[in-house]
């Protein structure tokens, strides 16, 4: 236990940075000040989150570094935050990616820079708050607040069809999450508690669990997104600015997986068991169907968006296997996908900034002019496919291993997903990077500059680090996952 509230400081540091930016007048001369203020704030937040990791004790299954203050006087809602092995890496992932988002927007965002940076920092605070909430109402408030900055980021700085995309994103996810609000109120009526840690267990009869589970499922299945609720994702990705896609794929999708682990498995084990076949079937369809859809795409970002849906299908399989390998694999895959898809979108942003198109057929033969870019893009593609030694491998391997325990047919299907991902990713790579440079507009394209190197190289290091030393990441989450699994098996009398 520390004397000073490091978690609160970390959560609200970006807001502090945003309010400083609020008071900087937006002029030609002050633009770089604004950018630097945003960058330094996000780096500071990352350093603070690393401090949290240093103080984290792997041998405790419960929440650590928790802070609790009374918030409402009439109800048992508290400002109650803390981290455990599951949320720790979600927090680190958010703080790790935000500086890259700001760096990636350094030049490509050229209007309303002040508002843009403020929106990003606000988004970071909200994400951190959401992952560290122990109070469900607090979680919900952060969960929905995410929509506001994301709505603006896509809507103001997005592509041509940005308004359609951002409205679809907002209303789709809002519709999912409002049902959760009713479920939360209902839980409070039944138990008089709003604490996630107190509610871990099996407190509701199976009938009630099923309704609650469906309400939570509505919000998380849209968020993660599962087939057939994924249609907002390709639109949002294509229209969002690069950094918007990065944070969307990198962190926002993980909110769904995180919610499944915390709420569906942790609080509603019997209903999770009941709906398990449904989840598995939906996930398998997601993996195979969206992989095939990805293969047919002509837009790079859309292809990566569909690949995200397929990867998230793997994640939901892993989560609902409810064994140690499955959940560990799911979380590692979420972290890995967070880094890899962020890296892919950032790489796409590099060529988009130069050519302002995302059409695959426009490109070809980039390897001739951009060797460094081609190498780093190759690493990201392979990590996305799940090549051993990269981060993608660890997660997928663990999930397939867990799937074998459940049924070998399931393992077969999930392995198919990996093969398909290799097909569409390598096919994409071939079309963009290799071949003759037939398009004359590409003749003068330049390789990545210093700023882009700073963005891409740490991501490569991160991908390989996770791939080679997965235990750094697996150790902290082992005990909390064990807790959830024990509770689940106890509830279902296994």
């Amino acid at each position: 236990m520390t004397e000073w509230p490091i978690l609160t400081v970390t959560i609200f540091l970006p807001i502090l940075g945003a309010s400083i930016i609020f008071f900087i007048k937006e002029e030609e001369t002050s633009l770089s000040n604004i950018k630097w203020a945003a960058l330094l704030t996000s780096i500071g937040t990352f350093i603070f989150s690393c401090l949290i990791w240093l103080q984290f004790d792997n041998s405790i299954a419960e929440y650590q570094l928790s802070e609790k203050h009374q918030w409402f006087t009439d109800f048992n809602f508290n400002y109650h935050i803390g981290v455990d092995g599951i949320s720790l890496f979600m927090i680190l992932l958010s703080t790790f990616l935000t500086p890259f988002c700001i760096l990636a927007s350094w030049i490509s965002i050229n209007k309303r820079i002040k508002e843009y940076m403020m929106a990003f920092l606000f988004l970071e605070t909200v994400l951190l708050g959401m992952f560290s909430s122990i109070d469900i109402l607090l979680f919900y408030i952060f969960f929905e607040s995410v929509l506001i900055p994301m709505f603006l980021i896509i809507g103001v700085w997005g592509g041509e069809r940005r308004i359609y995309a951002t409205f679809k994103f907002f209303l789709y996810t809002l519709l999912g999450s409002v049902l959760m609000l009713v479920a939360i109120i209902f839980i409070y009526q039944l138990t008089n508690s709003m604490s996630i840690s107190e509610l871990q267990g099996n407190f509701f009869s199976k009938n009630i669990q099923i309704y609650l589970w469906l309400a939570f499922f509505a919000s998380f299945a849209v968020k993660i997104p599962m087939w057939p609720f994924h249609t907002w994702l390709p639109d949002a990705h294509v229209e969002a600015p690069t950094a918007g896609s990065v944070i969307l794929a990198g962190v926002l999708l993980k909110m769904g997986g995180y919610g499944f682990i915390r709420f569906s498995l942790g609080m509603l084990p019997e209903a999770s068991e009941f709906f398990l076949p449904l989840i598995m079937i939906m996930s398998i369809i997601a993996i195979i169907y969206t992989s095939l859809v990805a293969l047919a795409q002509t837009d790079i970002k859309k292809l990566i968006a569909y690949s995200s849906v397929a990867h998230m299908g793997m994640v939901t399989i892993g989560i609902f296997l409810v064994n140690q390998q499955g959940i560990e694999g799911a979380i590692i895959l979420m972290i890995s996908h967070g880094v890899v898809s962020a890296a892919l979108f950032l790489s796409v942003g590099v060529i988009y900034d130069r050519m302002h198109t995302l059409d695959i057929s426009f490109y070809g033969g980039l390897v001739n002019n951009m060797p460094l870019y081609s190498v780093s893009f190759m690493i990201f593609v392979l990590a996305s496919v799940g090549l051993p030694g990269t981060s993608g491998f660890v997660g997928e391997f663990l999930i397939i291993m867990g799937a074998f325990k459940y049924s070998s047919l399931l393992a077969l299907f999930s392995a198919t997903g990996i093969i398909l991902s290799a097909v569409y990713m390598l096919y994409l790579y071939k079309r963009i990077i290799f071949g003759q440079m037939s398009n004359v507009k590409l003749k003068d394209i330049l390789d990545i500059d210093f700023r882009e190197k700073i963005i891409l190289y740490p991501l490569i290091i991160m991908i390989i680090l996770i791939g080679i030393f997965p235990n750094i990441f697996l150790d902290p989450m082992r005990l909390p996952i064990e807790l959830i699994i024990n509770n689940y098996e106890f509830a279902n009398a296994k």
């Binding site: 409402f72 006087t73 009439d74 607040s145 409205f167 209303l171 609000l181």
Partner: protein, 485 residues
Amino acid sequence: MSLRMQNNLLAIFMMPEITLVLLTTIILLIGLFQKKNSFSNVTNLSVIALFFVFFLIYLNREFSFASYNYFFKSSLLIQFFKSIVVLGSIASIIISKSYFEELKLSRFEIPVLISFSTLGMLILISSNDLISMYLGIELQSLTLYVVAAIKRDSIQSAESGVKYFVLGALSSGILLYGCSLIYGFTGTTNFEEIRLSLISINHLSLGIIFGLVFVLVGLAFKVSAVPFHMWTPDVYEGAPTSITAFFAIVPKVSAVAIIYRFCLEPFGNFYSEWSQIIIFLSISSMFLGAIAAIAQQSIKRLLAYSSIGHVGYILIGLASANAAGIKGVIIYMLIYVVMNIAIFSIILSLKNNNSYIEKISELSGLSKSKPIISLSIAIIMLSLAGIPPFAGFFGKFYIFIAAVEADLIFLAVLGVISSVISAYYYLRIIKVLYFDEVDDCNYQSIITSQSLVLLICAILFLSFFVFYPSVFVTIGTTISLDFFQ
């Protein structure tokens, strides 16, 4: 309690209303005999008078009993709604002052009429008898008919006044007929005596049910619940914007207070008789408010439909009929009034190319030239849509808690779904502000310092409610416990 003391209390009890009558009459005379600056002076004096009245209400907040031959009643709930009404009137006078002056509508009668209307609402809220209820409604409405048509040379304003008058008179007639039926079948007009005369029976006789329904129809017209909402968009649009602000902020509060009290006090034991009506009104208001607003081009019409939608949520609290419902409506009303004050203070001060903004599309590109104002509008819109972390979310949250507590989960589910639909048109305004790019705009914002202070306070309230909810929640808890003790 000795008789003498009671008399003292009686005198104190109606002090705010008596004071308001006296002060407003004096102010009317001052305005009549003053040649120069009469509007400005009368406005300032009215604000001071209303502040004084608010102060009296605040002093009397603890007394709870009935007086004047049981015509009037006082309780914490009543005093709360009264203070909201008075504060809302003060705010709407302040924010509309410069608008009236710009429009050459600076007639000193307006603040006086608003004060009298406020008086009618105070009487309405504290009425404990069908007759005093009717008197309050009529005093309130008559002045509202006049102010709606105050812009005499504008056809729209006159139309809205006439429309409001005809429909309002019809609804008053229905209400009065309902009152007479209730009197005929219970033999009394007093709320408390009606309750006592019905205490021994299990089912209401058909006549009383008819009376109950008629009265509810009349009141539903006053709160503009669907299907008795038709006047709202037209009156909102036709009346001068400053009057629309008053319409949006204040009369709703008094009507909501009386519909709550009418259902829960005399007919509190007959939940099953009126709950279906209220649930229907609530669902239809939420959905019509949400769907009809989507196609609106005029800001005022949009806000009219939005207010209809909000009435739907407010009625969920009534349908719940529990302490949580009372608490929910108190918090919701407070936040609703603040949101309306904020949005109208902006609309009343914002000009594009020297004319006040009426259409949503005229706001396009505002975020470029007036970033702070458009940020404020965005916050208000998100708050109206009930997106956390803004205050509007907590209003809805408390209402839904009440519904779930009363086993009306389907109502809560329908409520959240309609809130998603309504989020669309609130977001559309943010879209116009931030996403649309227009170059030929010339925005000016002429805001008086008083209304600027109001606006800043309102925005801070909406943004930071999430950090300090307890202050307001405690008020709600105290009042709801007092009401159901």
